[in-house]
């Protein structure tokens, strides 16, 4: 009987051990499989020196499906997978965050001017997320991606810094890496060294940090004219980038598209005259609106727009004059003309 009881105790102990093992492995595995992007983000917004720390942070943070979706876009953007970003953001209409990333993905692929109006367009927030008291660390880190893309290092640093400050642990490898990269791009080796030293304490980032540190020798501070601007003077910032680097394609597209999104056609005209414009349907559509009030320009329409676009505009005007709003919606919703006529700011 004693031997029977002993065997029973051993079986119970083994079962309990197996159950415990299942829980210890199963629960983390569940989070790892179900919320891979939030796990990535937990690593990006912390300074983990042990591989399991991001998983613990994720489990403490109450992950959810909606956040997983938003961070999927953000993480893929961070890694430069723009086609994937475009796919993940296409279907969603009504989110500033997703519209912002959708347009950034288009810009990186040279498709912005053709596709600007095919997606939700919340005025300037379609291109620049605000970096102010209305934001969160997720939107700040996202905002820095756009500034980085257009080549404005001060604003990229500003947004990244706020992402760092407002992250749950006031730190994060993603922000530190970006701050190091920004300062390397600007030639500020002292500032870059600060962030690289911190990153060297993280095993996953040590090699990268050591490599970047080796690049600091001989770095020279970037020269260029200095311009002062307020944080929301987006056009001024973009013009400054283009004045110093006229070949910056993304900054160029962003400037012209921003002019159109905020319906500043006069600035669009001046920026086209100053910086030129590449091909793009949205530019043709805007030029036609300018032509409506400019006879001299109208006479030269074939220099600027295709015959198809001109025909479409003629049709649009005809239907608009008949006040056929539903017909306009059905036929011209994805055009700048429709946006220009109907888009209104939601002041809330």
């Amino acid at each position: 009987m004693f031997i029977t009881m002993q065997r029973k105790s051993i079986r119970i102990a083994i079962s309990a051990g197996l159950l415990l093992l299942l829980v210890l492995i199963g629960i983390p595995a569940y989070y790892w499989i179900r919320y891979p992007y939030q796990l990535q983000y937990a690593e990006q917004t912390s300074l983990s020196t042990k591989p399991w720390q991001p998983l613990l942070l994720l489990m403490q943070s109450n992950p959810d499906e909606r956040t997983e979706r938003l961070l999927a876009v953000d993480c893929e953007a961070y890694h430069g997978n723009w086609k994937k970003v475009q796919q993940l953001t296409y279907a969603d209409q009504g989110s500033d965050f997703l519209a912002f990333y959708h347009n950034l993905a288009l810009a990186y692929q040279g498709l912005l001017a053709d596709s600007l109006m095919h997606h939700y367009a919340p005025f300037e927030r379609a291109l620049f997320l605000p970096v102010d008291e209305t934001g969160s660390y997720q939107t700040f880190l996202a905002a820095s991606e756009a500034w980085w893309a257009v080549g404005d290092m001060t604003m990229a640093e500003h947004a990244t810094m706020l992402g760092l400050i407002f992250s749950p642990r006031h730190t994060g490898t993603r922000a530190l890496r970006r701050l190091a990269e920004i300062n390397i791009a600007q030639g500020d080796s002292a500032a870059a060294a600060k962030y690289l030293r911190i990153l060297k304490t993280c095993p996953q980032h040590r090699r990268w940090a050591e490599y970047k540190t080796s690049q600091l020798t001989g770095l020279q501070l970037q020269d260029g004219a200095d311009t002062l601007r307020l944080s929301r003077q987006y056009q001024k910032s973009l013009r400054n980038v283009l004045d110093n680097n006229p070949m910056h394609q993304i900054a160029h597209e962003y400037l012209l598209c921003l002019d159109l999104l905020i319906k500043d056609l006069e600035s669009f005209r001046q920026d086209v005259e100053r910086y030129g414009h590449s091909t793009g349907r949205v530019y043709e559509e805007a030029i036609l609106i300018l032509m409506a009030n400019d006879e001299a320009l109208r006479e030269k329409w074939h220099d600027y727009v295709s015959a198809d676009t001109y025909q479409d505009f003629t049709r649009f005007n005809m239907i608009a004059q008949q006040n056929e709003s539903i017909a306009l919606l059905r036929q011209f919703e994805g055009t700048y003309w429709f946006y220009f006529k109907f888009a209104k700011r939601n002041e809330k």
């Binding site: 290092m153 640093e157 400050i165 006031h170 500020d188 060294a193 911190i198 944080s231 003077q233």
Partner: protein
């Protein structure tokens, strides 16, 4: 029994290991210069400062041997340690300083790197008989521009590494707090501003706390930069509408400017404010003279005359804004400023520079200010230099030291200031000793030393700036609990 033997063996092994710190053998002379952080080579050391712990920047160093000797070559202190950090034992350090006041000491450093011991050139420390104030308060804030999270005001004992929080933003609804300022030459008066709902200026006079609403109908904003009258009854403040802007040029980053700037003197005994308002001038950074008879301040002409400019209007004109230093008499008996004829104090030839942050020495002899190319935000300007005016002769001396947000220790011999000189991003607190000679031309500041930390790697890992460090000889008679009570449990007293 078996377990006890295991434990004993482990302890013995550990002791043996730590006892066997490598000592220099086959030492060669180093061919590269010694690079340590903080850079404590060839400095003047206050006689009461906490241990000056430092580390080698060379990450391949894995052992150190340092000897501190006197002029005769006698070894006073010896440190032999693994790693690249020199951490001084507190009691031995205190003993060293207290017994060698006025002496020059020499440090001989040998370091092992990749198995090779290298001897570096000796460097010196001069132990000054002048002490620094025993406490320093500062705001710890990330360089976040426009928004903030978890700002704290911390008090540090400069003779040790002890710190305590005077105000913790997380306990106070994450409010912005503006920098804690002492007065009265010993620190028996102090104030700081708590912004936002239920906020106000927290005034401490001899341990009594009050919350004040320092704004009347004439003022465009609440009180901002300020300074105490030596009596503690009055304080002078600027009231500014402050706007941040961003440079495009590499490493210039942030610029902050005022669209309005006026002055006021508050009478804490009678809850009254005397205003000095003029739309045609942008005034800021007021301070009292040591005897309380003058108010010094900085002023620049408003490019838009009497019209208050918008932020957008002024942002393009900041690089043309040059502040000059003025003074006006103050009558303690009436509590009023005489604003009829402000007197320019700095060099009228300085038309292309901007004077900021004047501070008078407690002995009344000097006025320290910072000089930058333009504007009113010197901390982000790399060209900012500290300058002194000898108030008895009017002579101006450029100390050629990058720094600002400075303050005098009570003995007028040491100053503390903030500078972002290390990395251009994060401000740290530095001390420098005032060295005088037979004439004003001999005045200079000693090589600055950064506030020491228990771990010399602290500043590298730290992602917050030491903002407006302010010294005092006494610890503040309040802490977080009292500040929270004042915020939540009291109403701000009105001033008119």
């Amino acid at each position: 029994m078996k377990n006890n033997r295991c434990l004993l063996s482990s302890v013995c092994a550990l002791l043996l290991y730590s006892a066997c710190t490598p000592t220099p053998t086959n030492v060669s002379e180093a061919t590269q210069p010694l690079v340590i952080y903080p850079d404590y080579q060839d400095i003047t050391v206050p006689c009461n400062i906490a241990p000056l712990n430092f580390m080698m920047r060379d990450e391949t160093v894995d052992a150190l041997d340092i000897q501190i000797s006197d002029r005769e070559g006698n070894t006073l202190l010896h440190l032999n340690a693994r790693g690249r950090k020199a951490i001084w034992e507190a009691e031995g350090w205190r003993q060293l300083l207290s017994t060698h006041i006025g002496d020059s000491l020499y440090l001989s450093l040998t370091a092992r790197s990749d198995g090779q011991w290298l001897r570096y050139p000796d460097f010196g420390w001069f132990i000054s008989a002048d002490s620094i104030d025993s406490y320093l308060t500062y705001r710890l804030i990330e360089p976040g521009y426009e928004v903030w999270d978890n700002v704290v005001i911390e008090e540090r004992c400069t003779e040790s590494f002890d710190t305590r929080l005077l105000a913790d933003g997380r306990q106070l609804g994450n409010r912005c707090m503006n920098c804690h300022t002492h007065g009265g030459n010993r620190g028996q008066y102090s104030f700081f501003h708590l912004r936002g709902k239920d906020g106000g200026t927290l005034l401490n006079r001899n341990g009594k706390l009050r919350k004040l609403a320092l704004r009347n109908s004439t003022m465009q904003s609440g009180a901002v930069y300020g300074d105490f009258h030596p009596s503690g009854r009055f304080a002078v403040y600027s009231n500014n509408v402050i706007i941040p802007a961003f440079h495009s040029q590499a490493n210039r980053r942030l610029e902050v400017y005022d669209t309005t700037g006026d002055l006021c003197v508050t009478d804490f005994d009678n809850n009254r404010i005397d205003n000095f308002t003029t739309a045609s001038q942008l005034m800021t950074f007021p301070c009292f003279s040591a005897d309380g008879q003058w108010i010094y301040y900085c002023s620049a002409p408003n490019p838009y005359g009497d019209t208050i400019p918008s932020a957008n209007d002024l942002v393009d004109k900041i690089q043309g804004l040059h502040y000059a230093l003025y003074r006006i008499p103050f009558d303690e008996t009436t509590g009023k400023m005489d604003t009829s004829a402000p007197e320019r104090v700095d060099d009228p030839q300085l038309t292309d520079r901007s004077v900021n942050f004047p501070k008078c020495s407690p002995d009344g002899r000097y006025l320290l200010f910072s000089l930058s190319d333009y504007g009113t935000f010197p901390i982000w300007h790399k060209e900012t230099e500290l300058c002194l005016i000898d108030l008895s002769t009017g002579q101006i001396v450029n100390c050629h030291t990058n720094g600002t947000y400075h303050a005098w220790c009570h003995n007028s011999q040491w100053i503390v200031f903030a500078s972002k000189r290390e990395d251009g991003q994060y401000g740290r607190a530095y001390y420098a000793h005032l060295e005088t000679g037979s004439s004003a031309a001999d005045i200079r500041l000693s090589k600055p030393l950064v506030l020491p930390q228990a771990d010399p790697e602290h500043d590298d890992m730290n992602l917050r700036s030491y903002n407006i460090p302010d010294p005092s000889t006494m610890a503040m008679p309040f802490g977080q609990k009292e500040v929270k009570f004042m915020l939540e449990g009291t109403k701000a007293e009105a001033f008119e």
